[in-house]
Amino acid sequence: MTSTTAAPAAVQRPKSRSRRGRKGKAGWNAVGLLVFVVMGFPVYWMLNTAFKPAKDAIDPDPQFFPRPFTLENFRRAFDVADFWGPVGRSLAVSSVVVLIGIVLGMLAALAISRFAFRGRKIVIVGILAVQMVPLVAMIIPVFLLLNELGQYDKLTGLIVTYLTFVLPFTVWTLRGFIVNIPKELEEAAMVDGCTRTGAFVRVVFPLLAPGMVATSVYGFIQAWNEYLYALMLMSQQNQTATVWLGNFTTKNGTEYAPMMAGATMMAVPIVILFLLVQRKMAAGLTAGAVKG
């Protein structure tokens, strides 16, 4: 208190503010930790259940750590139904969808972000509108269409239907990445004697590569995670990974411990992939939104 009167107000102020700031930070950190616990709890509970003995999972007094630590649930998960079959199918479908999506999507994204042409607006509206139709609304006619084309219960049919949601998304996100690459770079290359295509391949493409990787991964995850079409359009022996997870629930109840093991096997690779690209994705998805 004595120092308060002695020191000029100007010097005093930042000091008291920083002290309040530090105290405030501890408070915010506590709230932040609470958010972490609440958001992270379901994931933690999945892992915890996956690694504890199945009989401990249905203990009315749940253990917060898997003791003893066991891999038995994973073995059971492999046994429940063929595991690699559905996973292999999901991998195949998602990879092909992404491959087609990224190539066609990039061409389209280039068209709407680098060219001024009549009808551009309509194309943009169309691509956005397509994204807005809920999948469930489409399931009936898609089911009938595939049925008529003899593509029901075929991976090719599933791939084509997945393109309906992966493709518009890919176009829109890649557009976001392309607009963030200054046009001047291309123009400079063209002044230096490159053709338009040459300028794209040598200048834009390398800059776009990280965005393309992020978009591919995200598209892959979307296709991998799809449930409704996979459930409706594929029979039991052709099911994909998401539908496979339903095998743990039977008329006699749900086998939660092996199910959580199965869930872990499905989620961990995806979450890791996701971790690698999420920062880039947020940038691509919202490119222009702030400045617009």
């Binding site: 994931v43 629930t249 995806i270």
Partner: protein
């Protein structure tokens, strides 16, 4: 980044300038300019359309045709015999729609869907904004922890998340009932969260919000970095409190992002299907039905494909109101480029 954006935005007006200069050499000044400009666009028009063609073709095939089919189906009578080809579909006009609109259960489902969507969207946006603001105030390590939890729940396949929530809310062995019973005066052992539609849908709302918040937080965090510090400081100097700064500086700058996120959330939350479907073991009870599951049930359980289509069409039309707002925002973004 923002600087780059503005420069690209400003380039187009300067680029066409060479053509008027060329045009000026032609007789008739202004008309000549018009001609060359038109020629230029006509010449390059083939390229973008060629680039777009494969993409548009696929979308038209797998999206356009089914959409048309959805509309025609809803004006037909289409059941199992039509599916097997024993009978041709018959046109019935607005019969499907009058049947739906005259059904009290349908209106209950509509109201439920709207309430559910509104609740989930508001919760997602408010929590998302609060967490995004919180992330700016916490220490680095706390921020890292929250980010990990966010990414883990964002990347979690919906179907996996649904399984986990089903497990946590399990009547007999769910950890939540156990945890709540630890609180003094609360006895929740054996509580069935899905006995009533209200509680059950509240659980599903939590599941949806848990999965949706990360995208909102990460996007808003990216947006918050664009808020100029000087503006915040200026507002503070002018005597604005934390709320004032947020209300008058942060919010207006974030508005386009918020509009976009809200619209996307509405679209996604109205399309919620696997969460309800799987949570209720593939057969949701009447008080759990949302428009999506209701349409599904009409089509695939009762085998009334045209009735299901009519409900799906009504759902799409309901969404259109929201989409209109979103579309305007997106078009604005498209124009800036």
């Amino acid at each position: 980044m923002s600087a780059a954006e503005t420069t690209t935005a400003k380039v187009p007006p300067t680029r066409p300038s060479p053509s008027p200069r060329n045009g000026a050499g032609l007789p008739g000044g202004s008309t000549g300019t018009g001609k060359t400009v038109r020629k230029r666009t006509a010449g390059s028009a083939a390229v973008p359309w060629a680039l777009l063609a494969p993409c548009l073709l696929i979308i038209l095939l797998v999206m356009g045709y089914p959409l048309v089919r959805l509309v025609t189906l809803s004006f037909q009578s289409f059941g199992k015999s039509e599916l097997w080809g024993f009978k041709d579909a018959e046109w019935v006009g607005f019969k499907n729609f009058s049947a739906i609109l005259g059904d009290g259960e349908f209106w209950a489902v509509v109201v439920r869907t709207v309430v559910f969507t509104a609740g989930a969207v508001v919760l997602t946006m408010v929590l998302g904004m609060l967490i995004a603001l919180l992330m700016q105030r916490v220490s680095g390590w706390v921020k890292a922890l929250i980010s990990i939890a966010l990414v883990a729940s964002w990347g979690m396949p919906i179907i996996v998340a649904t399984a986990i929530f089903k497990w946590i809310f399990d009547t007999d062995y769910g950890v939540l009932n156990w945890l709540l019973s630890k609180l003094p005066g609360v006895e929740m052992a054996g509580h069935n969260w899905f006995a009533s539609g209200t509680q059950g849908l509240a659980v599903i709302t939590l599941l949806v919000v848990w999965g949706a918040v990360p995208f909102v937080v990460i996007t808003l965090s990216a947006g918050l970095t664009q808020v100029p510090k000087e503006m915040e400081e200026a507002a503070r100097l002018d005597g604005a409190g934390a709320w004032g700064v947020f209300r008058w500086v942060t919010l207006p700058i974030l508005k386009p992002i918020i509009v976009m996120l809200t619209t996307l959330s509405v679209i996604w939350d109205m399309g919620v299907f696997p969460q309800v479907f799987v949570m209720r073991g593939g057969n949701p009870e009447a008080e759990f039905q949302l428009l999506t599951t209701y349409s599904y049930q009409k089509a695939f359980v009762v085998n009334d494909y045209s009735g299901g289509s009519a409900i799906a069409l009504v759902t799409v039309l309901l969404l259109l109101g929201v989409v209109a707002v979103y579309m305007r925002q997106m078009l604005k973004i498209g124009e800036v480029e």
